[in-house]
């Protein structure tokens, strides 16, 4: 009988989530929630949604697609930046899971961070196709070969989840650093055969707070959920900007 009772006992897991109300709290604190772990496919985001729906409706966090595409639900899970929709409870159970807002960003409330700095940096690299002269619509599409698409495809997979910024100690120590995702995005457009905006992006990416601030820790690429490899984009940009500066005719279009 005792064995049967144990077998039917509900599996549970402890979630320790950061709580912070700027109007009441001086600093963030952790609050524990003991919730049912009913399904092996449950992810940390499911646990947070359970808390929000059944335990404490005041818990604040961002999420949207629940399938690793929107990039909204990035948080620190046991100290590592992760998309909570892709972090399975089964990988942590029976140990408790500490869920905190992404490091290196100001906290607005609970697990919600202020994205303004990131968005400003993203916009500063002009992440869109720039043409010296727009072709008329009647001229048709800008055609590309598969090889030309392969040149930049990897860097176009970024979902702006900001995990790379949370993993980057350089950004943590100096937030003037342009950061991994913004540079990877600049690289994506600079490698695009349809784009002609390299010289407009260079003043941003080639400045000291751009690629040269990076000391190649490489953790940005480790935590990237989409395999973008921002560290690669940054190092390649370093080499490119150096060659443009040093080689004869290196700076020509």
């Amino acid at each position: 009988m005792a064995e049967k009772r144990v077998a039917t006992k509900e599996k549970r897991i402890t979630i320790k989530a950061t709580r912070f109300d700027p109007e009441k709290d001086e600093k963030p604190r952790l609050q524990s929630y003991d919730i049912p772990f009913t399904d092996e496919s449950m992810v940390v985001l499911d646990a947070l949604n359970h808390i929000k729906s059944y335990v404490d409706g005041s818990l604040s966090y961002r999420w949207s697609c629940r399938m690793g595409i929107c990039g909204s639900c990035g948080m620190m899970v046991n100290g590592t930046p992760k998309l909570t929709c892709s972090a399975f409870l089964r990988d942590y159970w029976p140990r408790p899971i500490v869920v905190e807002p992404l490091t290196n960003f100001p906290i607005i409330r609970d697990l919600v961070i202020d994205m303004d700095d990131f968005l400003h940096k993203l916009k500063s690299v002009q992440p869109w196709i720039i043409r010296k002269q727009e072709m008329p619509l009647g001229a048709g599409e800008h055609l590309q070969t598969p090889a030309q698409i392969d040149d930049f495809r990897q860097f176009s997979q970024c979902i702006n989840c900001m995990l790379c910024y949370a993993a980057c100690p350089v950004y943590g120590l100096d937030d003037t650093f342009l950061g991994p995702a913004a540079i990877a995005l600049a690289r994506r457009y600079n490698l695009d055969s349809r784009d002609q905006g390299l010289k407009q992006r260079l003043p941003v990416i080639a400045q000291p707070e751009g690629v040269w601030e990076c000391s190649f820790v490489g953790e940005c690429s480790v935590v990237c959920p989409k395999g973008v490899d921002p560290a690669k984009a940054i190092q390649q940009s370093k080499l490119d900007t150096t060659l443009r500066f040093t080689l004869p005719y290196g700076n020509r279009d």
């Binding site: 290196n104 100690p169 000391s215 820790v217 490489g218 953790e219 480790v222 690669k232 190092q235 080499l239």
Partner: protein
């Protein structure tokens, strides 16, 4: 960030070790520059240190330099993006080429130094 941020993850620790290995190398190179300057003043002014302590320090510097070079060249495949016959050269080929050039350069420098010593 807290001062001990680099202790949080193994990857961060390895990064700090990689960066730290440059420091003793810099000290050793400063000594080398000083010795080159002394040699310029004639054989009597050139007195390289021969103590056991300095030999140990040099051996440690050599180990650090080897590790630093290894980590640097290992990353060459990530950094260098070249195409041959319109196809990207695989990172493994780039890394192996770099290590090959490193070995050749080491042999050439070693041969020159031994040649001068004779």
């Amino acid at each position: 960030m807290p001062a001990g941020w680099w202790l949080r993850k193994r990857h961060y620790v390895l990064y700090i070790v990689r960066e730290f290995t440059a420091l003793p190398m810099a000290l050793w190179l400063l000594w080398l520059l000083y010795d080159v300057k002394s040699a310029g003043a004639g054989p009597s002014a050139f007195q390289p240190p021969r103590s056991i302590g300095f030999v140990v320090f040099s051996a440690v510097c050599l180990a650090f330099a080897t590790y630093h070079s290894y980590t640097f060249l290992k990353l060459a495949g990530v950094i260098i993006h070249v195409k041959l016959f319109d196809r990207p050269v695989p990172p493994t080929v780039i890394v192996l080429t770099m290590f090959g050039l490193w070995a050749l350069a080491s042999i050439a420098i070693g041969a020159v130094l031994i040649g001068f010593a004779r």
